[in-house]
Assembly symmetry: C3
Homo-oligomer: 190 residues x 3
């Protein structure tokens, strides 16, 4: 995985499962975290509920539905499980973007045997040139014991590497613990 | 799981396995963290060593014994694996309370097929009305890879949700890392 | 596991898998974190790629090779999977030491059925008397769900206990999240 250039418009919201990272990131992107009225925003959802290879379809669909329910009418949603770079490039105007989530995108690539180096390089290139603010939600998955199976270990390694690369270059990094933000880089205000 | 009202007397001590959360919480509750002499306190232990359905009885019993050994004579202990709201209500006078731990209580409910929404709502109601200080120890379990089995995933989700709800309303939240407290909300002094 | 005496020359760098702890610790030890030219340093590597009992030889060898590639010529490397106390004592002069990593050392001991109490006490004794700076890299492994098998649970408990004991006595403790240091005790400058 190559180095990532500076990403002046990128915020990374990291956290474990059910750490409140999606909720926090949504409020950050649509302006409601600062207490203002909600502003238009675009969600790029990487979950793929129709994927027949997905072992947990029902759970995933329920989760997506819950996410939709939480969001108001000022959100537009685009679903894209694989070509994240392409969809970001096509929407680089007007409204801020939330990608939820990067780790699921990585998992989608890994399960399909895609070239992670190429995909990550393409993503980094697009992120570096974006004009609108992009907030990336990502899972921290490396704080348990070593997984038994090799694929899970590879996924854990790749997810951790991607998080590190993006964190190094992002303008702002937040680590969520039980719904509370820990600012690792930058501030909630910008 | 419904929203939780403000919990002005509640401290949440979060952390992973062997992160020192019980030890820190005990000292916080009995006053020895501040360097004073130990004051009387009540422990509500949610572990259930006699449960025949428990797969790890010996380990759990050893852990409980170790916890007992660490505590001095100024501690009273009540064991209650399920009716946490009831036992809190019955002891809402005189001495501060430590609940160790909330995540095990949730696991007990889940394994028995209890209604988590009702149990959590009852707990939140009681916590909101408490007059004595209550410190809740809880496990953070969402920072590893996605578990293979559905029950573990559900447990992880429910535990994370409960932690988030309580963290949002609690007066003070501490995240433990290797025995060291990271104050997420409030201060060690109050 | 007995209490650990004060460790005035010890830094503990904690983190999950792929959290950037090795890279950060290397820069801390060889002086490049502060921006200066690299200074001579000694790495004590506890990985054991030749161990026939190791189930993940190829992965481990690849990881060690990557670590070697990252380090420059000012690093000397000693490989020692078991007798960490002995090798530390023999190299207590001249250059600062990086131990990477403590958790793997613990795992090596556990898999061989060694006496963890004795080994940890010996390590603590040596660390307390060291004259050169020692930086210990260790894994945080307790933030996922409870592992299914008893050995993994024991490993998780022992690793967490060791981290706590050393963190309490160390001069400096850093927790790594996605390549970013969270100073838990002490400062990056000393």
């Amino acid at each position: 995985m190559p180095e990532v250039p500076l990403l002046p418009h990128v915020t990374l919201v990291l956290g474990g499962a059910r750490s409140g990272k999606s909720t926090y990131a949504e409020k950050l992107v649509d302006g409601t975290l600062a207490g203002g009225p909600p502003r238009p925003a675009l969600l790029i959802a990487t979950a793929d509920p129709a994927d027949s290879e997905h072992h947990r379809d029902a759970e995933m669909a329920a989760r997506i539905a819950e996410h939709r329910w939480r969001r108001g009418r000022h959100w537009l949603t685009v679903e894209e499980p694989l070509d994240l770079a392409g969809v970001l490039r096509r929407h680089d105007e007007g409204v801020p973007i939330l990608v939820d989530c990067l780790t699921l995108w990585l998992s989608n690539l890994l399960l399909r045997g895609e070239d992670l180096v190429a995909a990550t390089a393409a993503l980094a290139d697009v992120l570096a040139g974006m004009h609108v603010d992009v907030t990336l939600v990502a899972n921290e998955v490396g704080l348990g014991i070593v997984p038994d199976n090799a694929l899970a270990r590879r996924f854990r390694d790749e997810a951790g590497r991607l998080n590190m690369r993006l964190a190094r270059s992002a303008r702002r990094v937040v680590f969520m613990i039980a719904g509370m933000p820990l600012m690792m880089k930058g501030t909630a205000g910008g």
